[in-house]
């Protein structure tokens, strides 16, 4: 299936964006977010970017105060996902300019739109920043 979820969490463990590609109940989400956030936040820079959790892996990357966590199947290419996170960040950066946690927090809908242009049904759908951002730009113009 590939990507199971994308989570953006800050240093305090507060969720800033959550998109799941398999259905989990609210309780399951809460448990999962609690467990993996605890695991990932406890790690330091000298440790690798992959954490094995239950029957899948979490590939994560930290940008300032924000952690980007992507849950993937065990056979997914870890480095490709790691760079996909960076692509997501670069795309946000291109749109917001020096993106920070607050941008994502207060423009939740835009963060969702971007992610939706990039991942669909657990698969990567687009990797060109121009193509990803064009629907949002269209909308901004319209409003």
């Amino acid at each position: 299936m590939g990507i199971r979820f994308v989570l953006l969490v800050n240093k305090q463990g507060q969720t800033r964006l959550a998109q799941y590609y398999e259905y989990l109940t609210l309780e399951e989400r809460r448990a999962l977010e609690g467990e993996i956030v605890r695991k990932c936040l406890a790690r330091n820079d000298q440790q690798c970017s992959f954490v094995e959790h239950r029957n899948y892996k979490v590939v994560y990357r930290r940008y300032a105060s924000l952690f980007f966590l992507v849950g993937v199947d065990n056979d997914e290419n870890e480095l490709a996902i790691l760079e996909f996170i960076h692509l997501l960040v670069e795309t946000m950066d291109r749109h917001f300019g020096n993106v920070c946690e607050l941008d994502i927090m207060f423009h939740l809908e835009k963060a969702h739109f971007m992610l939706e242009e990039m991942v669909m049904n657990g698969c990567i759908v687009e990797t060109s920043k121009t193509n990803i951002l064009s629907p949002i730009q269209l909308m901004d113009k319209a409003s």
Binding site: G2, Q14, T15, L17, A18, Q19, Y21, Y23, L26, R29, R30, E33, R43, Q46, Q47, C48, S49, F50, V51, E52, N77, E78, L79, A80, L82, E83, F84, H86, L87, L102, M105, F106, H107, L108, E109, H112, F113, E116, M120, N121, C123, I124, V125, E126, T127, S128, K129, T130, N131, S134, P135, L138, M139, D140, A142, S143
Partner: protein, 1014 residues
């Protein structure tokens, strides 16, 4: 900072952000939810803009982890809004809040369809995305043709087509028939000619799913994939936008190579050459650079190329390049690369024979076992476990032991189990094995499962040379302060049996041994008390001449426990006390435990359960050398008919008889006279002959059952062995390891594992099933250091299966593993079984076995989720026999509903929760595939009786009466299965008395019946 026009939302988010604690946050959220609820109630006054705002708030609240159980209608209704901003919110929030089974979704199917077939491409994209993310079967049926049309349309722009591709992937997963259109594989091949890399990226994901399910239909895509890979690798015609840090879309490269890993080989020489050129270029041309992102991206491609090369396993030179690269990676400082190096090296171990090269890196791998990063430690542990063999076992196991004391709690159990298995498999000598296990218990007692210490007891009992050594060790450990309780158990047991072998040593007189064990008595749990009482009885028996003082001490303990609250302890105390007053007779009754019959290590079984892919694991096991299997099979002295000494039998029987002073003497004389001792039926369940009987997981029902299980197991084993012997005209001295029937039964419920094993060969199975096709690979592994000759494998297929086995080589070289693919096609529903007639010669021994192959009916089922709308009309239309059959099944093994659901899942039957309102019922459905009938939907309902778990009512419906009947029987077989499959693994129960084969016990081993039929 405010959202364009949604001030209320910004204010709310700020408020939440300013909350000092969770409680404040909750209050603020509750207030907002109340507000939204009221606004939605007076919906009339709500503008689309306001609706949009509230729906976003709901999503925000949901994201924070609060339940939002209202307002779904409002969210869904926005989908029908005419304007883009509202529609967009409707689609996005709906796909976040709802799941595919939600009823609201059905309300909008038409709107969604109109958006998809409409002319507004932004609407098309929104609709396709939502269906791609949460579309269920309903969508699959009503939308698939439209989505297909969009995907292949030449007038559609790429931005729509890329979404159509992934939407179709979703619909395909919900219902594989959506791509069963004529010429679909040609369409896929055409799609691969696409120039737009966005479309290509999506199409490649779709192709992975299609190819992984049916590689044969898509061979025409193979050359195109290689072309795409060439185009990317050579950076030809790649737009700048798709170049990531100078690397042409690494994600598309990775995906393309993933597709290629589903094709077994590349036959066309030109394509092959082109592919290997590209791979060579990637392997050689990837350098480490300063830029982190570039480095990661190029290595993502490199690791995928490594996986592809390993999969193709063709070019020796390239394989050694791979090993060299991995060797380099596991030594770098960069943790990601090191992690992946270790992970891929473990994978490499499974596909090809590179163990010797990998061993050169052992020191480096051990360093990683001490890495501060648990992810890396886990990979290192897996790799060490995989690469261990007799030459390096000592070193590796000692490293694991050393690591155990500092390891994280999360890893200790796995570590302990792995160390125990390696020690057992590769022990250079048995005293080392005993040392390792005792150290293991000492260092990590809490993480050492009972299986581990049962196993060491078995080894010691079966090896006389080992007994004094084990006793000395056990005695030494008892001197240590703060002993783990498991250590108390194992030491007490061993000293009870063998301390008399030490009695001349200082500190080892019976009195001293008793004193030191007795010290532990007040602090141990009930289970251990039982063992200690047995130990005291044994010490008493071994003390010759009797020591009145010691006897008085022990008796006072027995008397004390005669009124103990636990009935087992009470009984032991009473009986030991009575027995020990018999003087001389005690020696006969409490004689040393006889040898245990050899059986598969419970640990290995446990490990197999843990490993996801047992076939792969067995590939590792195959590398086991012959000497080591000797270490494993320390004794194969299975007691033969009539050879059991009478006094041992007494030990088994006496406790279940009354305790009158004369009874046991009479009994034995009686039995001895008729000389039929070994034909006694299986001892009654209440016997406590087994001194460890009280042990075992407390959850495992009554102890009686625990006693029963191993006996039954031994019986079945024995019959299996007899059956084999008949086939081979008594000349076959090679005994199978493990129970053939058990192995077969397990494989009926999973797709990989060991089908058969004996001291010379192991036959592993790995199967893949797609609709009515199956591909089963037999792994024939020679365990010896000399070749197996005259190897012959013939398939005897039942009439409903077409089976074709590829050529099996006549000779299997020493320690080699041969893979023989077997193609299976299902013609119709039947429960007849296919047989593999397998024979080989080893030295002078000729072995012939007939094995059932797990190509059973359930393998041709695919679980489907059926909605209530689909289920009930079908269910009603199939009114009664022969399409719908009902039966009350009795004698069902007691399963909880979740357990039953698991069983159904392993039979490929999809449970649909919620269809039946009664919580005691299960409803399941599956699609059955066969060449003659195509897909048939099967519906199953199970009504259980919470008051009596041993009976249930089973109803099966499908349009094919034969299928209905066969499926009903299949499910029944699994529900009333012989108790072995779900009871705890037999050897998990305590060691048992050897039982002589019980002929005519009425116990039917299917394997035996089968051999009789042939």
């Amino acid at each position: 900072m405010a959202l364009s026009g949604m001030r209320g939302l910004s204010v709310f988010i700020s408020d939440i952000r300013n909350c000092q604690n969770k409680e404040q946050e909750r209050l603020r959220v509750d207030k907002e939810l109340g507000n939204i609820r009221t606004r939605f109630k007076n919906e009339k006054g709500l503008s689309p803009y306001e609706k949009k705002k509230y729906v976003w708030k709901m999503l925000y609240i949901y994201m924070l982890g609060y339940d939002v159980d209202f307002g779904h209608t409002e969210a869904v209704s926005l989908i029908s809004a005419p304007k883009y901003p509202e529609k967009q919110v409707g689609y996005i929030v709906t796909s976040c809040l709802l799941n595919e089974n939600h009823d609201f979704l059905r309300m909008v199917i038409n709107t969604v369809r109109n958006d998809i077939i409409g002319r507004n491409e932004t609407f098309q994209c929104l609709a396709l995305t939502m269906v791609g993310n949460i579309g269920g079967r309903d969508f699959s049926e009503s939308l698939a043709p439209d989505v297909q049309r969009l995907l292949i349309s030449s007038s559609c722009r790429p931005l729509v087509r890329k979404k159509a591709a992934l939407c179709l992937l979703r619909l395909y997963r919900k219902n594989p028939d959506v791509v069963n259109v004529d010429g679909w594989s040609d369409r896929m091949a055409q799609l691969l000619d696409e120039r737009d890399l966005g479309v290509l990226t999506s199409v490649m994901s779709l192709l992975v799913a299609l190819v992984s399910n049916n590689v044969d239909a898509y061979w025409n895509c193979l050359p195109k994939c290689v072309k795409i890979l060439e185009r990317l690798a050579r950076n030809q015609d790649i737009p700048q936008e798709y170049t990531y840090y100078g690397i042409p879309s690494p994600w598309l490269q990775v995906k393309t190579m993933r597709v290629l890993q589903y094709f077994p080989t590349v036959e066309d020489p030109n394509t092959r050459r082109a592919l290997f050129e590209v791979l060579q270029r990637i392997l050689m041309g990837t350098d480490v650079v300063k830029n982190v992102n570039k480095n990661n991206a190029s290595h993502a491609v490199l690791f995928e190329a490594l996986a592809l090369v390993m999969h193709l396993d063709a070019e020796k030179e390239m394989m050694s390049q791979c090993v060299a690269l991995l060797g380099k990676f596991i030594a770098v400082r960069e943790p990601n690369i090191r992690y992946l190096g270790l992970e891929n090296m473990t994978r490499m171990l499974l596909v090809t024979d590179v163990q010797d090269i990998i061993k050169r890196h052992q020191a480096q791998i051990i360093t990683s076992l001490k890495d501060p990063d648990i992810s890396i430690r886990r990979r290192a542990l897996d790799l060490l476990y995989g690469m261990c063999d007799i030459t390096n076992a000592k070193e590796i196991v000692e490293e694991l032991l050393q690591y155990l004391s500092t390891a994280d709690f999360a890893m200790r159990e796995e570590l302990a189990l792995k160390a125990a298995i390696l020690a057992e498999k590769f022990a250079p000598d048995l005293s080392w094995y005993v040392d390792v296990i005792l150290q293991l218990i000492d260092k990590a007692g809490d993480f050492v499962s009972d299986d581990i210490w049962y196993r060491v007891v078995q080894f010691v009992t079966n090896n006389e040379d080992l007994q004094p050594y084990a006793a000395v060790k056990a005695r030494e450990y008892l001197d240590k302060p703060a002993l783990h309780e498991t250590m108390v158990k194992v030491s007490a047991y061993i000293l009870g049996e063998y301390s008399h072998l030490l009695s001349r040593r200082p500190g080892c007189s019976p009195k001293e041994i008793f004193a030191i064990i007795n010290e532990k008595l007040p602090t141990v749990s009930t289970n251990t008390v039982a063992i200690l009482l047995s130990t005291f009885a044994k010490i008493l028996m071994h003390t010759q001449p009797p020591d009145p003082e010691l006897r008085e001490q022990i008796w006072s303990i027995f008397r004390k426990y005669e009124s103990y609250i636990d009935v087992e302890i009470q009984q032991r105390a009473v009986e030991y006390f009575a027995l020990s007053r018999k003087g001389e007779a005690l020696v006969d009754i409490l004689a040393e435990m006889p040898k245990f019959p050899e059986r598969q290590s419970a640990l290995l079984k446990k490990a197999e359960d843990i490993e996801v892919d047992t076939a792969e694991q067995s590939a590792i096991k195959l590398r086991t050398q012959q000497q080591t299997s000797n270490a494993l099979v320390v004794t194969d002295q299975r007691p033969t008919n009539g050879s059991l000494p009478v006094n041992q039998l007494n030990l088994v029987r006496i406790p279940s008889q009354n305790m009158e002073a004369t009874s046991h003497q009479e009994m034995s004389r009686e039995n001895g006279a008729v000389n039929k001792v070994d034909r006694e039926p299986v001892p009654s369940p209440d016997l406590i002959g087994d001194l460890l009987a009280i042990e075992g997981p407390p959850s495992a029902a009554v102890p009686a059952e625990q006693n029963m299980v191993p006996s039954v197991d031994a019986t079945a084993d024995a019959i299996g062995a007899l059956a084999l012997a008949t086939v081979n005209e008594e000349s076959n001295t090679v005994q199978p390891i493990g129970n053939i029937a058990d192995r077969y039964n397990a494989l009926c419920l999973k797709d990989s594992g060991v089908l058969y094993e004996d001291p010379h060969i192991q036959i592993g199975v790995k199967a893949e099933w797609r609709a009515h096709h199956g591909r089963v690979v037999l792994f024939l592994g020679n365990k010896n250091t000399s070749p197996l000759t005259s190897v012959r494998a013939v398939i005897l297929p039942p009439t409903h299966l077409k089976m074709e086995l590829s050529l099996v080589p006549e000779t299997i070289p020493p320690r080699a593993q041969v893979q023989c693919p077997l193609e299976v096609v299902n013609l119709r529903a039947s429960r007849d079984v296919a047989i593999l007639d397998f024979s080989y010669n080893f030295g002078t021994a000729a072995v012939n076995v007939k094995l059932r192959l797990p190509a059973v009916l359930s393998k041709f089922l695919q679980p489907v989720a059926v909605s209530a709308e689909e289920f009930f009309p079908q269910w009603k239309s199939l009114a009664g026999p022969p399409s719908k059959l009902q039966e009350v099944v009795r004698g069902v093994k007691p399963l909880s509903l979740p357990e039953m659901a698991n069983l159904f899942a392993s039979l490929h039957l999809g449970i649909t929760p919620g269809l039946d309102t009664n919580p005691n019922n299960l409803v399941a459905s599956a699609t059955f595939y066969s060449e003659t009938t195509r897909a048939i939907l099967c519906l199953i309902r199970v009504e259980t009786d919470p008051a009596d778990r041993t009976q249930l009512r089973l109803t099966i419906a499908s349009v094919d009466p034969t299928l209905t009947f066969e499926l009903k029987e299949l499910i029944k077989e699994n529900l009333v299965d012989i108790p072995k499959t779900t009871t705890p693994a037999p050897s998990q129960a305590p060691p048992l008395q050897p039982q002589s084969p019980v002929v005519g016990s009425g116990y039917n081993d299917p394997g035996a019946l089968l051999a009789g039929l042939l």
